[in-house]
Symmetry: C2
Subunit: 321 residues, 2 copies
């Protein structure tokens, strides 16, 4: 297992700079009041491809030597990593093949195709996914870029917290959602170099609380296909992300589906920005744990904004004009 | 009729600076590609109170002498001016009474109350509104601040284009929605001083195209309660705004309800920001008039983001998790 270093994170940041946005940090007086904290929202929903995933994908793609790159890249993902890798490959002018389960969100499928990626459909099971990916790799010789259990990907994600650290002085803590753990591992890696005393908290859905149970058990606990509205957070930790989570994360908090949806609506309503459910989990956990967060300066990673506007997680009346 | 001058606009900008945000200008590669233009979106959806209206309301409220201010302010509005005036009055510590038709959007009613405003309900007709307002004014001695036909309000709205002019170099044209005409008049006033050669276009719903017909007829044409999803754009021009529109606006374009909703969804989907239907009318007209806009640098005023998320103007499936 190759564990990325802080130097890898610095190199990644340099490498991906031409291909990503330095996203803004937004604030909300209303949410500060509600939480009793000072919240600094790092808006990766404004990132290229609509989510932080292009950071890791671009680092993986642009780190490849010419010969490897020529054979293209491949991955499995039903979500933002799929379009991020397609975007990165497109920027380098190489092929990207993405194994996606049938039934993946239309908006994400279309984005993959828009970026020039190729979609290989499979049934919605781990076995079917592995089989389809193996076939793609055998057929193309493409480089596999795992959505998060990959040192190049984690080093790329670290650039997000490096930026946040420059944009906001004196943070006491940082909160990011945890699914497979790519983003939170990137936070750990970045802060290890620039702000080792800032607390790091992970947030996850109660319905997919495998990371919290892993941290308590002292080893990876993986669930089979947990159901949560936060579709970016259904994946289990893997050895590389477990390394960072187990060594550096101070605590993991959970939020119910109702709390996630309420936090998502609050962000849309009060900050006037579109974030996906996975992005809202961090705020949801902050609002329910004032003893940990009140009175502090908290960085909050809003991980993405790719939502199918025709399917929202609350009842909506269609308004005739 | 007192016509505000460019000096009034400069004074307004100074006066309201402590009470408003200098809103950011966002871009979208996707929408640039779609329009063939370079679009610079002035994001008044991020403004205090969720819309540009606080600019004019703050200018009116903070320009009052002490004695007048002590009697409070009043207005009629079903929308953003209602909460803007409540916000401004709250900042100055004076009373605000707002005459609102029964059935006004819940989210706007709640915001008025949150800011400490008093709501006086009336039936949804012009007569009922005038009668209710007259009663409030007689009872309180409050200063009436019209939503747009007021030189203090127009001078305040002008600050938006003054900022945009500083934020973006070399604009060829500016597009803003027109309802009663407060924002577009502010654009005219601001650019008269800093960029007299920049073209100014107004955008309005086809269903409420009274400003376009006014411009063609050479006098104000007012409709009785036009029906459009763009609820901020149902008001007719008044003498003061007609002055600016007739003298300075280069042309007025219209968009159908379907085009407005499509543009609104595009902005949410691609820019990851929440804007209200009235805000989307400008983009809708840009997309359908490439001969006027393609190849140019265009400022686009996104006027506000106060949307009831439980009522949206397209069919939404509620997604169980």
């Amino acid at each position: 297992m190759i564990i990325p270093t802080f130097d890898d994170a610095l190199a990644a940041r340099q490498r991906i700079a031409p291909h990503i946005h330095r996203t803004p940090v937004l604030r909300s007086r209303f949410l500060d009041g509600l939480s009793g904290a000072e919240l600094f929202f790092k808006c990766e929903n404004f990132q290229r491809g609509g989510a932080f995933k292009v950071r890791g994908a671009c680092n993986a793609v642009f780190a490849l030597d010419e010969d490897t790159a020529a054979r293209g890249v491949a991955t499995h993902s039903s979500g933002n990593h799929a379009l991020a890798l397609s975007y990165a490959a497109g920027r380098r002018g190489i092929a990207a093949s993405v194994v996606m389960p049938r039934g993946a969100a239309r908006v994400k499928r279309e984005a993959v195709l828009d970026y020039g990626g190729r979609i290989v459909e499979c049934a919605a099971s781990n076995d079917a996914r592995e089989a389809a990916l193996a076939e793609v790799l055998a057929e193309t010789g493409a480089e596999f870029v795992h959505p998060y259990n990959d040192p190049r990907v984690i080093a790329g994600q670290a650039s997000c917290s490096l930026e946040l650290h420059e944009q906001v002085e004196g943070l006491d803590a940082l909160v990011a959602p945890v699914g497979g753990g790519g983003m939170i591992s990137g936070c750990c890696l970045a802060l290890s170099g620039v702000a080792p005393r800032v607390a790091i908290y992970a947030a996850e859905p109660k319905n997919a609380d495998d990371a919290q149970r892993s941290l308590r058990a002292g080893h990876i606990v993986a669930d089979d296909a947990p159901q949560t509205i936060a579709d970016g957070l259904r994946s289990p930790l893997k050895p590389l992300t477990w390394h960072f989570v187990s060594q550096r994360v101070d605590d993991i908090f959970t939020a119910t589906e109702e709390e996630i949806v309420a936090a998502m609506k609050l962000i849309w309503q009060r900050m006037k920005i579109v974030v996906e459910p996975s992005s809202a989990v961090a705020l949801a956990t902050i609002l329910k744990n004032p003893p940990t967060f009140a009175g502090k300066r908290i960085g909050v990673i809003l991980t993405g904004g790719n939502v199918d506007l025709d399917r929202l997680p609350w009842p909506v009346q269609s308004m005739a004009c």
